[in-house]
């Protein structure tokens, strides 16, 4: 189930990046094992979902990628750490997760998932998950950078 959810999320991010920012992306399940504590200045958006399954989705990227995507979404140049970059990325995460969960909810299992609003964190050395958390990660890449989507389902098993 985790793999199916991750595929839905990654497909959705690729579609939404194209629709919202005109950025062509591809994704792969072959993501590197990332350190538990992020390296360099990192931007993450955290969303939770509840329903028949509970879990957390994290969108992660470095600050340079965040700047480029934030400017593409806002359709204007923005200064470093401009708050509109982070508002845009927060909404990007909300939209791609919402679209993915809608597709899952309308599928045969109808798990009735509901999203919690996103929270954005920006900084160095962020510990998003504990070292022992079971994560599934997809890489979404485009010519300007790389985005990771992490999925953690409650219970920790590879559901």
């Amino acid at each position: 189930m985790g793999g199916e959810y991750l595929a839905n999320l990654a497909d959705s991010l690729v579609t939404v990046m194209d629709k919202m920012a005109g950025l062509t992306c591809e994704w792969s399940e072959k993501a590197p094992q990332l350190p538990a504590i992020t390296e360099g200045v990192t931007v993450v958006s955290l969303l939770g979902f509840t329903g028949a399954e509970k879990g957390r989705v994290v969108m992660e990227m470095d600050i340079e990628t965040a700047q480029k995507i934030g400017e593409a979404l806002n359709q204007e140049e923005l200064g470093p750490f401009d708050k509109m970059i982070f508002y845009a990325l927060s909404e990007l995460s909300n939209i791609f997760c919402g679209a993915a969960i809608t597709q899952i909810n309308n599928g045969p299992r109808r798990p009735g998932l509901r999203l919690t609003p996103p929270n954005i964190l920006v900084g160095e050395g962020l510990e998003i998950f504990g070292e022992r958390a079971h994560l599934e990660t997809a890489s979404v890449f485009w010519e300007g950078g790389l985005i990771y989507i992490h999925l953690s389902l409650e219970g920790g098993a590879a559901l």
Partner: protein, 127 residues
């Protein structure tokens, strides 16, 4: 653009994301609509609605403090003629049914294309 003799329609926006306020304003204002207020949760919308009495309220569903469905329910209970359109990233059948039951005229999904948004807004305003 709006014809000169046409009254400018006033639209109230409720979404927890300032990015969405900006995106909607960039689409609606050049088309001749006035944004009469922007709010970031459903409770703020309930409290402000009576003072603003907009021609159309465009509201997100997933928001902190009070979600859009509950806010729509409270606003339509107090103002039965309120025109509310939901705009959400979530669009499954259960949510559509909840929004309709709460009194929403219609439902738009994010991300939106400006021409689709303007067509939907025009449609809701004539209902």
């Amino acid at each position: 653009m709006m014809a000169e003799n046409q009254t400018q329609k006033r639209i109230m926006l409720v979404d927890d994301s300032p990015f969405i306020h900006k995106a909607l304003s960039k689409a609606l204002v050049p088309a001749g609509y006035e944004i009469c207020g922007t709010f970031r949760n459903g409770l703020q919308a309930v409290e402000a609605y009576g003072n603003l009495l907009p021609d159309l309220l465009i509201m997100d569903i997933t928001m902190p403090v009070m979600d859009g469905v509950q806010a729509a329910r409270e606003i339509t209970a107090r103002y039965p003629g309120a025109k509310i359109a939901m705009l959400s990233a979530m669009g499954d059948e259960d949510i559509l049914a909840e929004a309709k039951e709460a009194g929403a005229l219609g439902f738009m999904t994010k991300p939106f294309a400006n021409d689709e948004l303007l067509a939907a807004v025009s449609d809701y305003l004539t209902k």
